[in-house]
């Protein structure tokens, strides 16, 4: 971890696999890449076994391209679809037991502060709706109550995708799933409201239909977590298999859901707002 560990030692580069060398020469390490240039640079995410046309896989792609400091980031995931891609990137990845991601991330964030007091290390949890709002609910909530300084991103496909279609607390009311044949009886858990009540300093709900906005939110969440407290992003990342969405229509679906019940919402504390205003002012001065 750290730029020094990513760069190959002199004389060694020619023996490394091409994908790694491309990453050093054309990748995002040590520089700030603009996600709107996706397709122009070598991405840190590699090939992975997530389904064709998966919107969660798409989100993971944008996520890795949005990290403010990929060489100093640790990503935590758990059982569930996203980890199939999260684990295939040139960023250290920790596989937490199902449900305990936010407890592991709490310990890790604190340990990094002790081990590297003068360095910035980012810890980000990326886990499913089941992982964070059902089985990991108490550990997610308690990490927020304790004001642990890391980012939690919920990739919400409104189902247990990886295990074949059980309903989750985040499935919408009335929806019929393979293993909820009578239709779900309860409303979606109001995850972002809970996050605000529990003390998150930056909370966003979004459907990732704009790369620019998604990247901005991910960077903001990570930067705010460095200084102020827990941050949370709730992203709609459909499961085209369990919800029978034709692959070529997943973007259309994401846009429709954005109009319906996944409209963009961004909450932050006054302190965080001032911090972003300050950073944005500095950027303009640099220009």
């Amino acid at each position: 971890m750290g730029l020094r560990y990513v760069q190959p030692a002199p004389g060694f580069k020619e023996y490394l696999p091409k994908d790694y060398v491309d990453l050093i020469d054309f990748g995002p390490f040590g520089k700030e890449v603009d996600v709107q240039h996706l397709g122009d640079f070598k991405e840190i995410l590699e090939e992975h076994p997530m389904c064709a046309g998966c919107w969660m896989a798409y989100f993971v792609r944008v996520f890795y391209a949005s990290l403010p400091n990929p060489e100093d980031t640790i990503v935590l995931g758990t059982a569930g679809c996203a980890r199939l891609a999260l684990s295939q990137a040139a960023v250290p990845f920790i596989y937490g037991n199902y449900g305990d991601t936010n407890a592991v991330a709490s310990g890790l964030t604190r340990a990094l502060k002790i081990r590297f007091p003068d360095k910035t290390k980012d810890v980000v949890v990326v886990a499913g709706d089941g992982g964070l709002m059902d089985i990991g609910f108490s550990m997610t909530m308690h990490s927020w109550f304790r004001k642990e300084k890391f980012t939690t991103i919920m990739v919400d496909n409104e189902v247990y995708g990886n295990t074949g279609g059980q309903e989750s607390g985040m499935s919408p009311k009335g929806v019929q799933l393979k293993m909820a044949p009578k239709g779900k009886k309860f409303e979606k858990i109001p995850a972002t409201e809970l996050a605000k009540q529990a003390g998150c300093v930056y909370v966003v709900k979004l459907s990732p239909t704009s790369v620019k906005r998604t990247a901005k939110v991910i960077r903001r969440a990570i930067l705010a977590a460095r200084h102020f407290g827990p941050t949370f992003i709730h992203a709609y990342t459909s499961c085209n298999i369990e919800y029978s969405i034709p692959t070529e229509e997943v973007l259309k679906d994401a846009r429709e859901r954005e109009k319906k019940d996944f409209g963009f919402e961004e909450y932050m504390t006054d302190e965080v707002r001032e911090f972003f205003e300050e950073i944005e002012k500095k950027k303009e001065v640099k220009k």
Binding site: G39, D40, A52, E248, L251
Partner: protein
């Protein structure tokens, strides 16, 4: 045999819009060549979802990408 996206590079170069590259779910797959001004597909990585066709044809009405069947030898 499998299904992949293929870019009509001549047509694509007339637009240089770089929108499809922002929506492919796969990393390092639908790339943009700055010199030739066109998007192109790294075919062995393409999973054949046709999302890029939706972006190019349905949203932008530019019709520069089509899905084609290829064999492993091709």
């Amino acid at each position: 045999m499998y299904y992949v996206a293929r870019v009509d590079e001549e047509k694509c170069a007339t637009y240089k819009c770089k929108q499809c590259t922002l929506f492919c779910p796969e990393a390092n797959t639908l790339m943009f060549d700055e010199e030739r001004n066109t998007a192109y597909v790294n075919e062995p990585r393409c999973k054949g979802c046709a999302l890029c066709v939706y972006v190019c044809s349905d949203l932008l009405k530019r019709d520069c990408i089509e899905m084609v069947m290829v064999t492993a030898e091709e």
